[in-house]
């Protein structure tokens, strides 16, 4: 039987993998070109990166709730 500590480590692993993917994507969006700082294109890139990060944060919160109710409390 898997205890809560191992289940929590699995949760951290899943969140970590998704975070690395999101950070790499955010990094690519934001730093595509260095010349766009202060322009509308630069601002749109920044907003897109923030939106992506916000979606990830929301997904992570739902994942934690799911993990607790469906996996940890079983």
């Amino acid at each position: 039987m898997v205890g809560p500590l191992l289940k929590m480590m699995a949760l951290i692993l899943v969140v970590w993998l998704s975070l690395v993917v999101v950070l790499a994507s955010v990094g690519l969006i934001v730093s595509a070109t260095g010349q766009e700082a202060g322009t509308l294109a630069g601002l749109l890139r920044l907003l897109a990166a923030l939106a992506l990060f916000a979606v990830w944060a929301l997904w992570t919160l739902m994942l934690v709730q799911f993990w607790y109710i469906r996996l940890l409390r079983r």
Binding site: P4, L5, V15, V20, G27, Q65, I69
Partner: protein
């Protein structure tokens, strides 16, 4: 050169450990004189414990940093001023509770010290991408980071020994990362000072605790860790290492329906029966890391603290892996 740096790190850990053992003892006496006592909620009956042990850590951290720094330059000043400003805010809260909405704003102030001294580099290292150019956004994120991390680390400091057991793996692994990145020498000295201070503090805070760290302790540790990451250029390492605390903070805020004081909550996340911690069967009670770790059945406080330390070690190793794949991209 590397041998000299390693010797400095070892000296920093040893000096701050010895200083912390004395300074935390003195802060326990001070707390008893000032009647700054907090209830140990996971013990049967009413057990009151002195709650500003973190003040001793602040003393040992800053004294070791000053003692081992050849000169007080802008980097050393940042490493001193930012964590101490955060600790001072925490100490004021240990005397009188701050408004839960005002608190995150105040906790962002130590970030302004870094901005004022200009000791940051707005080019963080992103996994698989390399250095990103964030000249406008970075200062804003930096100030927010101080507040988020302070609340996150504070949310972990809930059982005897958890603050130190959570922070020690992160600070210990940040030392080889700083060495690999060629971080300024004062950053290494500061990391060693914090590591020794945490070890000294753990001696008094381990189960059954003779002192709590208080907000002064958790704020000092969190602000110091953010300052190390900013000055050393390993922001993503810290973000990954802190995942258990950040997740805990986020689910606590969401499950409590916003920023609220923990003392005001009606339904406790866990129940304490016969000195053992149990998951509250009421699903509407706030969700916390302690609650999640106690879902396997009644568990003692010491085991919960060790599990929090294990989770921190695990996330710190993941942070190290992230650093290694990002390094020299």
């Amino acid at each position: 050169m590397e041998t000299q740096k390693l010797l400095t790190v070892l000296a920093g850990v040893a000096i701050s450990l010895i200083l912390a053992l004395g300074a935390v003892r003195l802060s326990i006496s001070l707390a008893q004189k000032l009647k700054l006592l907090g209830r140990d909620v996971h013990k049967p009956g009413t057990v009151l414990v002195p709650k500003i042990g973190g003040l001793g850590m602040a003393v040992s951290y800053s004294a070791t940093l000053i003692f081992l720094s050849p000169r007080i330059d802008a980097v050393t000043l940042t490493l001193l001023a930012s964590p101490i400003a955060s600790a001072a805010i925490g100490l004021s809260e240990d005397f009188r509770e701050l408004n839960p909405v005002l608190k995150p704003v105040l906790l962002a102030l130590p970030g302004l010290v870094v901005l004022a001294l200009g000791t940051y580099d707005p080019h963080p290292m992103i996994p698989f991408v390399g250095k990103a150019r964030l000249t406008i956004v970075y200062p804003v994120l930096l100030v927010i980071a101080y507040s988020v991390v302070s609340n996150a680390v504070n949310s972990i400091d809930v059982v005897n020994g958890s603050l130190a057991l959570f922070s020690i793996p992160i600070v210990a692994l940040s030392i080889p990362v700083s060495l690999a990145l060629g971080a300024p020498a004062p950053v290494l000295v500061a990391e060693a000072s914090l590591l020794g201070s945490l070890l000294g503090f753990l001696f008094y805070n381990r189960y059954p605790a003779r002192t709590f760290g208080g907000n002064v302790g958790s704020n000092l540790v969190s602000a110091a860790m953010v300052t190390f990451a900013v000055l050393g250029g390993f922001e993503v390492f810290l973000l990954v290492a802190l995942l258990p605390a950040i997740l805990n903070e986020a689910v606590v805020i969401v499950s409590m329906g916003g920023l609220k004081s923990g003392k005001g909550i009606v339904k406790r996340p866990v129940l304490v029966i016969g000195g053992l911690i149990r998951d509250n069967p009421d699903l509407s009670a706030p969700l916390t890391i302690v609650r999640m770790l106690s879902t396997g059945g009644p568990v003692n406080e010491s085991k919960v603290a060790r599990d929090i330390g294990t989770l921190s070690l695990f996330s710190s190793v993941l942070a190290l892996v992230t650093f290694l794949v990002s390094w020299r991209v």
